[in-house]
Subunit: 204 residues, 2 copies
């Protein structure tokens, strides 16, 4: 049981019984289950049990496990308060600040664990990779990039950030695991900054 | 049966019966099996059968499946002819040429399939990630980088290249999948070039 429920609230028995935050309870239980067991081992039935709702209700909101996964992981990319904070950063420091935001998410004990589960599943489960990539682009990166070729720029940012997460947090490359946030901001900030607003047509 | 054997050569029955290229046959069979079925589903017994050798001989050469995996995938990172070719490139074009070499490996039908298998396993199987990262660094990237902080520089190159492979070949991000080699060399070349020999201490 990871989801909390208001005392006295009647237990939902079907789509019509779903209270306002039932969907939220399901998402919270799903995020915890996917982080805990991985995408393949977590089941919709089990998630329903953890959220204290009928399995039919889970299927009412989410037509497949892949749908549920994407919805549960979505808030990780769409952390509005943090993304809003980026809006007040001078544009020439966006690269560095995006790196710092990304590191703070991965270093958060709860969020980091979920991001790790998400990354592993996105890579190994073919059916969710494109959907999650879409979330990362639309909910996070395309809100930072405003220049022409926004999709290419946002995609380039995504490849560097995902590679950083893999190298530092999943594989544990020594040089990156030992580096401070300041060092990583200095290393990767200019890369992101160029992808956000630099000239991408000259290879020299 | 993926490995070919000289006609009339006696079948190996144990460590002492191993002919000069038995180890090579095992590695070839292993690379094919891992690319075909993935790390978890491929078994050492099955690889022995495909290489037409006794399973005990496989265990003589490789103490574990993880060892065998790393050895089988190693030639992908240590393609000497291609890496030697990089040695004759002017150093200011190394970034761009490293991106082009990387793309040519992933676009090769046989090598690309094996790289994809390798990447999926490195990320999802904890026991092989660090070993394969070590291969990527020592066999490829540390042979390109000669500057101070070589390990940090090579690691940074690795994160961008792995992120590119994931985005373009595994997840299939539209903007990257549709981009030409020239466009990708222009996009990622300067990033690699800076990681190889640029100033990594300024974040602006």
């Amino acid at each position: 049981m990871t989801a909390t429920r208001s005392p006295g609230r009647p237990r939902s028995r079907g789509p019509r019984g779903g209270a306002a935050d039932t969907r939220g309870d399901i998402l919270e239980a799903a995020a915890a289950a996917f982080a805990d067991k991985g995408y393949s081992a977590a089941s919709m039935r089990e998630i329903a049990r953890a959220a204290d709702v009928d399995p039919a209700l889970v299927r009412h909101y989410f037509s497949s496990k892949a749908d549920l996964f994407v919805a549960a992981m979505r808030p990780l990319a769409a952390d509005d308060a943090r993304i809003e904070a980026l809006a007040s950063v001078p544009r020439e420091r966006l690269g560095e600040q995006t790196v710092r935001l990304f590191l703070s998410l991965w270093d958060d004990p709860v969020i980091g664990l979920r991001l790790r589960a998400m990354l592993g599943s996105v890579i190994s489960i073919e059916e969710i990779g494109p959907a999650m990539a879409d979330v990362l682009l639309r909910d996070l990166l395309l809100r930072i990039v405003r220049e022409d070729d926004a999709l290419m720029r946002a995609s380039a940012c995504g490849t560097q950030l995902i590679g950083l997460a893999l190298g530092r947090y999943v594989i544990g490359l020594e040089a990156l695991a030992e580096a401070s946030d300041d060092e990583l901001a200095a290393l990767y900030g200019p890369t992101l900054q160029r992808y956000i607003d630099g000239d991408l047509t000259r290879s020299g």
